[in-house]
Structure formats: C-alpha cells, structure tokens
Amino acid sequence: MKTRILIANRGEIALRVIRAVQELGFEAVAVYETPDEMSRHILTADDAIWIGDGPRCDYLNIQKMVTAAKKAKAVAIHPGYGFLAENPLFAKVCEEEGIIFIGPHSKTVAELGNKVVARQIMAEAGIPMVPGTKNLSQGRKGIDEALGFAAQHGYPVMLKATSGGGGRGIRRINSDEEMHAQLPMARSEALAAFNDDSVYLEKLVLNPRHVEVQVLADNFGKTLHLGTRDCSIQRRNQKLIEMAPSHIQNKELLDTICDTAVKAAKAANYLNAGTVEFLIDQDDNFYFLEINTRIQVEHTVTEMITGIDIVRNQINIALGHPLTLEQKDVQIRGYAIEVRINAEDPKNDFMPEGGKKVTVYRSTGGFGVRLDGMAYQGYTVPEEYDSLLVKLTVHGYTWEETVGRLARCLNNFAIRGPKTTIPFYKNVVVEKDFISGHFDTSYIETHPFIFHYDEEASEGGKLARFIAEIHHSKENPFAK
C-alpha cells in the first residue's frame, strides 16, 4: 500500500497539498463536511472521508480528524492553514496517536502561538522587538498596567489577543478613554474567538511595512530561509496582495532580516516550514512580530522566486528526511506577486458573496502564471466557508514585468455571478505608487480611489441574452 497522507483542510490549500502528495507518489486522503461533498478537493484526492454535517465544526474536530486518519491508514496529517493548523492540542494528539503532524512540534506550536511566550523567547535570543507588555492582569490592575505602558511609550498602542493570529484579535487604542472602553471588549472577544481571554499591549509602529521570511528547518539541525515576502498591502490587518521578495531597496537590511529570522527559528527550536514576521518602520528599524507555525496562503510567491516546493519539503521533513538544500542553493530570481481573488464586494467592506453561483468562469494562463484555484463555472460560493475563488500568482524577471503580467492576467479573467475583488486589483496594478513599489500598511487607506470602479458588467452574458432574443423572436424585436 502506498504511503497515505490525510489533508485536514478544504478549499484551495487542500488542493495545493493534494498536488504535492501525489507528486511525491503518495496517496492523498481528503476529508469533508457535508456542504463540501461536491467540492473539487474531494474529486481530486485519491480517497475522501466524510467527517460530519458541519459546517465549520467537523473541520475543527480533533478527534474526528484523527479517527479519519486512522480509518484511512494515513501516516501523516497536513493541517493546511486555518482550522486546526495552529492548534497545539491537535499537534499533540497526533503525536500521541502516532500520526505524523506535518508541522513543528506541538510544544513549539503552543509556545509560538502564545504571543507573550513567543516574545519572551525572542527577547532572550536578542531579536529586536516592538516594546510590549506581558499578559495584562485581570480587572482593574490590568487597566492600570495598560495605562502605565501607554504613558511610557505613548499612544497609539496595539491591544492584542495573546492567542490571536492572522490579523484577528487586534485593535488600535488611541487614548486612555479608549483603553478603558476597549480592554474589556477585547477580552470577551478573545475569549469567544480563541477560547483564551489573555491580551497584551504593543507599541504601534506607524505605517510600517510588513515583511516576513519563509524558513525551513529539518530534524538534523539545518535551518534555511527562502527570502522575504512583503505583505504590506493589507486591509484591517488582513493581507490582500503579497509579493516576494520585499521591494525594499536596502539589500543589507533584508539580509539582516533573513539572518535574524533563521536565528529566531533556531531560538524557538523550530521544525518544518514557518514564517517569521517583521515590521519595518519608516527609518528602516525592524521588529519581530510573530512566527506563523503553518503553511501560509502567500507561500506561492516564495515558491515562484526560489523554485522550491515548500509543501513538498514540509512533507519530506515531517517524514524524517534531511533537507537536501543548502542556504547557497536558495537563489532568488525575479519577483512574484499573489492576489487573492475572492467572491467579495470590495466596495461593500469586502462583504462575501456567499450563495452566488459562478455563471462564467474564464481564467488566465501563459508564461509566469500560477493559479491555485477552487472555483469553476457552476461553482456556488459557499456561505459556510471562505470566499476565496482562486489565488493568482505571477512571476516576472523584473518588478515592472511582473506588474504588467499581473495586469494582463487580471484583464484575462472573466468571472460572472458573484462580485469579485478583480476590479479592485485592476485599479491597484495601474496605480503609480504600487507600480513604483512605494507602499506600506497604510496603502489602502491612503489610496481610497482604488475603490472607484464600475462593476464588471456581465456584458458577455447580457449580449448572449440579446442574441438569444434575436434567435427566438426570429428578428431583432428592438430594431423594427
């Protein structure tokens, strides 16, 4: 029997992992909740196991996942991103049940998942960090601690959920009044979202660039970095456009950041693929932000510029193989940009278009183009899950070529039915600050006109209806 690997996820990342598993000559086992029974990852996998009616609860059910893996005789589980990916308990249960968890040790997941512990580890290793507090005490004392920190470092400050991540559970505090009002709310929200009401404070770095480093570490003491990514273009801390490498011209700074990332990973005893995130302020100071202990949505841009299959390496590392790469083998070539084409209405606060059917789906192709997609003609945007239709990643030899390719690809796309983020991206790729590489995390706020576009009318569909009318009526009834 072939080695089987279970993918504890859905959507495009499930497809991404299935591809890597099958390329290795292994068998991919998918799992699904009822709403996903017709999904593409089910059809693409070698085997699929139903885990419940869902929605969103069975994908989060550790026990069901482990049972499914055992039933499928899978030797390993790839958690993807989201769902159970950064749940230390899941990693721990896998370890206990003798199933390989494709990721770091559960202890690492736990430590790095706790932002305060993570900061401690990094501080000890001498990694530069944004000034911050430990977990704030409960009640009145916590508020006093918070006000004290703000008095020392000045507003604005960031109030963060200790167990948060991926941009969630973060709020900006501008004054003592806000602190009084927000702290209890942040706690109750954190409790609801992460089952942990701990929060802490960090000094807010104004309009920083968000730069992160992809790292790979094996069981044999080798830790490599695969260069930088820039995820500065964000909306409320959610990444929209990601690119690799960072467009920052200061090469020495980027080298230092990469070396620091490797140092940070080593300090955390990191195993497998991870991402070390940094903020860079306007004066080129950089600060450690966090380590993400999973494969990231935007890993594709790093794969494009390095030619290294990160997911394949994840599996190999997990199966106990040493990294065959050396740091000197990691060559960065050109630029890559990824955009998330979501079924969302950017003009309406990126409201998901759940329930809408994709009536026309035409995608792009050609040189330097990569699609990690889920959608197809006839696909219904799920109301139960995320609204990502396809990730478009383009690669070019120069920044200019890459932006031009991205623009071309966006123009090639024709998706009708739900509103999508495509027209929004189309405005970005012709915007002069983006073209010249001048952007930081304030980009979306400072370029509000990128939201000004006409809806992509489904001209093709409308015209077809008109032609059908001419056909059906035996003449153009409007031209008589």
């Binding site: 009536t359 035409r362 569909g461 056909h471």
Partner: protein, 638 residues
C-alpha cells in the same frame, strides 16, 4: 495640403476656407449620418461606422456628419446605442476629423420646440464631441436658432447656420440674400453658411446663381452646399455650387449610396476636376478604401433600403426631403396605402404645401405637411383630422410663416369655428418656460433607481419615454452596439449549430454557437448557446413576446367617435400614449384634453367626448395602442 483638423480655432478654419476657395480648391464633408437616414432609415450601426473609421480618418474630410438629425432618436430607439458613447468611440478612432451634427434649432433633435434652458444644456453637453454645428429652422426663422448659435460659439465650436432652400416664386435670390444677412448679423462671418437643399431641389443653374448671389454679397463667408441626389442630379448642383464659389460640398461613400442621400464622393471629385477644381487634403485612395471595406456590409441593411427603388425626379413637385423619403415610403407600405402614393405625392402634398405657406419641407415642417396630406387623402375630408402639430403651426408656435399665411378656411378647419378667438388667445410665439432640470433629473433618477449622468438627462429631455426604455434595455442586454449588422438585423433566427464568428465594434473576435432550442413540457423554449466557449441557456415562457401591444379592438372610426361621446375614450389611430393628462376621479368638461398620443412623430391631443368624472384609466404612458383600444372612461356627473 491644408487639412483642417479637429481642434483648429474657428477663426482659423474660416480663414483657411477663404484662401483655399480663392485657389480653386474645395473641401468635402462626408455626410454619413444623412446617408444613413435618407437611404437606410437611419439604421447604419456604430459597428459599421467604426469599421469605416480608420480610412475615413485618413481620407481627410472637412468633416464627418455622424450625429444629429433623427439619428439621436433612432440611436436609442432602434439601435440601442448611446449617442454620446458613439461619439466617444468614434473620436478614439478618428482623432483628427471634425465631427458634424445637424441640429434643428429650437427643435434640437426632436420635433417640437424645447425650452431655452434645455436647448442650452443639450448643446453644452454635445459640444465637446461635435466640432461643426449645422443648425437650421424649418421656417428659416432666425430667433429659433439663436440659443444654439450662442452656445456653440461659447464652446469654441464652428457654427454652420443654414439657409433652408426650396423652390417656387417666393424663393428668390433676394429673399435668401436678405435671410443670410439676418443670420450673419447674429453669428458674425467666422462661420460656414450652409445652403441646405434637403430635398435636392432646383437645377444646377439655380444653385449656381444662388451661390453666386451670396458670394457677391458676402464674399468672406465660406459657403457649404448640402444637397440630396433624389432626382439623380445633385452632382450637377454640386459642380455649379463649387464653380460659383462654394468652399465645401457634401457627398457620401460610394458603396452605400442610394437614391435619396448624397452622391458618391469620387464622382463629385472627378466631375469637378475636369473644371479645374481640386479637393483640398483629400486622400482619394482612402475614400476608395472605405467603400471597399463597407461593400460587404451593405447586404445586412437591405431590409432598410427604400421599398421603391430608383431616382425620383418628381421630388421637384412633392419636395419631400431626402431624409424623409425612406420613412414616408415605409409608412405607406405599413399603412397599406402605397397605391395612393402617386396621388399623395404628386397632387395632395404640393397642394398642402402651397396652402400652408410654401415653407421649407424639412423636419418638423415636413412631417406636418406629410401627415396632413396623408390624412387628407385617406380620411376623405381635407383638414378633417388635424394633428396637434398642425394646430401649433397655425397658432404660430413654431414661428411666423415666412411668405404668407394659410387661407382662413384652413384656420377654421383646424382651430374650429371660433378660430379667431382661439388664435387671439393661444396664438403667437410665447416663450416656452424653462424646465426645472433638477426636478427632471430627480424624476429620471426615480425611474432608473440610480443617479443619471448629464448625458442620460440630455437624452431623457429629448425623448423621455424612449430614453428610459433605452436605459432599462441597456441594463438588461448590455452594450448591444458591439454587434455587427449580420447579427443585429438577423431575420428568421439562426440555424442550429450555426457559428457566429464576428468581430465586435472594438475589433475583438467572438464566437457564438447556436445550440438547439427544445421546448419543455410546460411549453418553455430553452435556447442553448455557447458564447466564447462557454455554454449558456435562456428560457422563454410560452406567452412571452417582446414589446407589449394592447389588445386590438375592431372598431370603425365612427364607432370610436360615438363611444367617445358616451364617455368611453378609445384610441383613434395606432399610436403611442405620450401622456395621460388627467387622474381618476378628476372632473372634466367636454373638449378637455385627457391624453396626448403620438403617431408618425406627430402628437395629437385626445379630448373628452363628454362632461363627467374620469373613472377607469386603462392605459399608461408609453403604451402602444391600436385603433379602438381603450384609453379611459368618463362617467356622467350625477
């Protein structure tokens, strides 16, 4: 070569024209719009004009007449293209060529006078796209054109005021020279003065003498001769015009020339060359290239060519303008009175023309003459069924009669026995009050469900019902103007499996494959199509047909009149409801206006046949009614 390009200051254009004319050279205007209107019922699609655009641009015309006249209305009504979009797309392909419009003065692009603020707003919105403004009034009444002149001047565009031309004892050189003086007093001399021979009337000698007379009086004013080839002799008139000093003449693309529009450009060039006149800046190869490109497109427009083929020397008698020939003949065919056309054209129309003051037979005056002549012949009683517009003409709403007034018996027929009082009370020019544009915009926004653009408002002010229909159509069917005529005008449906391989108006290739159209158990027809490799299905309910027409009632004219007297108001003819002017529960007196209907572009009031209270209104604005269809009911007042 002194090509006059788009953007040249008006003073410089006039200066160049004067110089060029002195050197025995002339310019040509390609009157594509007039050709489309005269010989193809205005149906030439934007797709075809864009196909011709590159070679027309290269040809180096003085101007391309591409908008105005009836085209604005037909654009939105039958071709579903926004006239502004059309100009924008044309401009992209033709950056250098001046675009020309035909504007009916106070009647703009419609059939009755508009308020001053609407005229000015409309001109201001079109001015950025239109370089040459050919403006006329069917009574040659200068005050009707002043607002347009002023706005065009303000926008820095070229005014081309028109002398509408006709024949007859009153139409002397002295009259036209004096009229030109009146015009030039308002516009100044940096204009091109158009001799607007919309009927193609008079002999070459007559036109030559007219141009000569004008040139002698106004040597510095460039003359633009515009004619129609209805009698087959416009080239003769053009040659005579140029030999006597005209600077610009009108002609069309050979492969699309017909009988009622302009003659072929190169035939004009060849004829004039023999007399020693050369076309300035004209690339004759490019002219020829346009015709070659257009040649294969003509077949798709065959349904819109005149029902009667051949030149019409009789135009010298009936004087119908070339632009109205096609539509008049179409009406005769549709109305089933083609066999009465000789009587209408040769006897009644000339008679009506004389009776109504021998003014110029051009829009909207030509429609008044035509509908009056038709109704005089078909109804058996002359002036027995006068249109609302004829009434307005007699009341002087369009301006004063240029030569003489109709005889009193006609006033009596049209305005009633107490016509003198009516004339006193209602007669004469009265300034049309300005419209509240903000309110119109609000009404339109309410109708559309979104804030209209200025362009939309302009179209709405011209043709309120048709504009709203068009905007709603566009939401449902999109930009249908990208389609070629082979699809747009397809008759009889497509064959199953047929591949429609076409280039849209931007030159992009598309492939539509027509699938089967099975009928479901419930009678629904499902049309399967593959558009650019993607399958789509459209379902048609069994009863659904496009364009709602109210139920037909077989009633005679007398029955309709009798019913009206009993309070049952029916449609007296086939036409469209423009407005219901009363509300249910409203009290009316006999003779009160309860609705306005429109047929053959003429509006007619529908009057209350008795006194009473309006009870049931069974139709609404925009409905098309057959004769005898119910409009509303009046109950006798208790």
């Amino acid at each position: 070569m002194r090509r006059i390009v788009q953007g040249t200051p008006v003073g410089e254009i006039a200066k160049t024209l004067r110089e060029v004319t002195k050197e025995g050279r002339y310019y040509i205007t390609n009157t594509a719009r007039d050709l489309s209107q005269s010989d193809f019922k205005n149906r030439i699609l934007l797709h075809t004009d864009l196909l011709a655009a590159p070679s027309r641009e290269k040809a180096g015309y003085f101007s391309l007449e591409i908008t105005g006249g009836a085209s604005i209305h037909v654009d939105i009504l039958r071709k579903q293209v926004d006239p502004f979009t059309k100009l924008e797309l044309m401009r992209e392909k033709m950056p250098s060529t001046m675009f020309q419009t035909l504007c009916r003065g106070a009647n703009l692009f419609g059939y009755r006078p508009y308020p001053q603020n609407v005229i000015r707003f409309t001109v201001r919105e079109f001015a950025p796209y239109v370089d040459v403004w050919r403006t006329f009034d069917f009574l040659n009444y200068v005050p009707n054109m002043v607002a347009v002149f002023e706005e065009v001047g303000r926008a820095g565009k070229l005014n081309e005021p028109c002398l509408c031309f006709s024949t007859g004892p009153e139409h002397s050189n002295d009259f036209y020279i004096k009229k030109a003086g009146e015009i030039l007093e308002v516009t100044g001399q940096d204009v091109t003065l158009c001799i607007k021979n919309h009927g193609g009337l008079g002999t070459p000698r007559r036109i030559g003498r007219l141009v000569d007379g004008l040139k002698q009086h106004y040597p510095d004013v460039p003359i633009h001769y515009h004619g129609h080839n209805t009698d087959g002799n416009d080239i003769g008139r053009i040659v005579a015009a140029v030999r006597n000093g005209a600077s610009i003449v009108d002609a069309g693309d050979a492969s699309f020339t017909g009988f009622y529009g302009p003659p072929a450009i190169l035939t004009v060039v060849q004829s004039l060359r023999d007399y020693g006149f050369e076309p300035e800046g004209l690339d004759e190869d490019a002219v020829n290239e346009t015709s070659q490109i257009l040649q294969s497109e003509r077949q798709y427009y065959a349904p819109f060519e005149s029902q009667i083929k051949g030149f019409q020397p009789t135009v010298q008698t009936h004087k119908l303008p070339g632009g109205a020939m096609g539509s008049s003949l179409e009406q005769a065919v549709k109305g089933g009175f083609l066999n009465q056309m000789p009587e209408i054209l040769q006897e009644e129309l000339p008679r009506v023309q004389k009776e109504l003051g021998n003014y110029w037979s051009v829009t909207p005056g030509s429609q008044i003459l035509w509908t009056t002549a038709v109704s005089n012949v078909l109804d058996g009683e002359r002036y027995g069924n006068p249109s609302g517009d004829l009434r307005n003409l007699l009341l002087g709403k369009y301006g004063p009669f240029p030569f003489y007034k109709p005889e009193e018996w006609i006033y009596e027929k049209v305005l009633g026995r107490n016509w003198r009082e009516v004339l006193k009370e209602e007669g004469g020019e009265r300034e049309i009050p300005d419209m509240d544009l903000a309110h119109e915009r609000y009404d339109l926004a309410k109708d559309l469900g979104y804030e209209p653009t200025n362009h939309q408002l302009v179209l709405y002010l011209q043709q309120p019902n048709d504009a709203v229909d068009f905007f709603k159509f566009s939401e449902e069917y999109g930009e249908v103007y990208v389609l070629p005529p082979s699809i747009f005008f397809k008759h009889g449906g497509f064959k199953t499996g047929e591949h429609l391989n076409y280039n849209d108006c931007h030159g992009k290739k598309h492939l539509v494959e027509i699938g089967p159209s099975p009928v479901s158990e419930t009678g629904e027809v499902n049309v399967y199509m593959v558009v650019d490799h993607h399958q789509t299905i459209f379902s048609y309910k069994p009863e659904k047909r496009a364009g709602g027409v109210s139920e037909v009632q077989e009633l005679t004219k007398e029955e309709i009149l009798d019913l009206a007297k009993a309070g049952d108001i029916r449609s007296p003819f086939k036409g469209k409801i423009v407005e219901i002017t009363v509300k249910e529960g409203q009290e009316v007196l006999q003779g009160d206006r309860v609705a306005i209907m429109e047929a053959m572009k003429m509006q007619t009031p529908i009057l209350a046949g008795m006194e009473g209270i309006i009870t049931t209104i069974s139709t609404k604005k925009g409905d098309t009614l057959f004769p005898g269809a119910k409009i509303l009911k009046i109950d006798a007042d208790e």
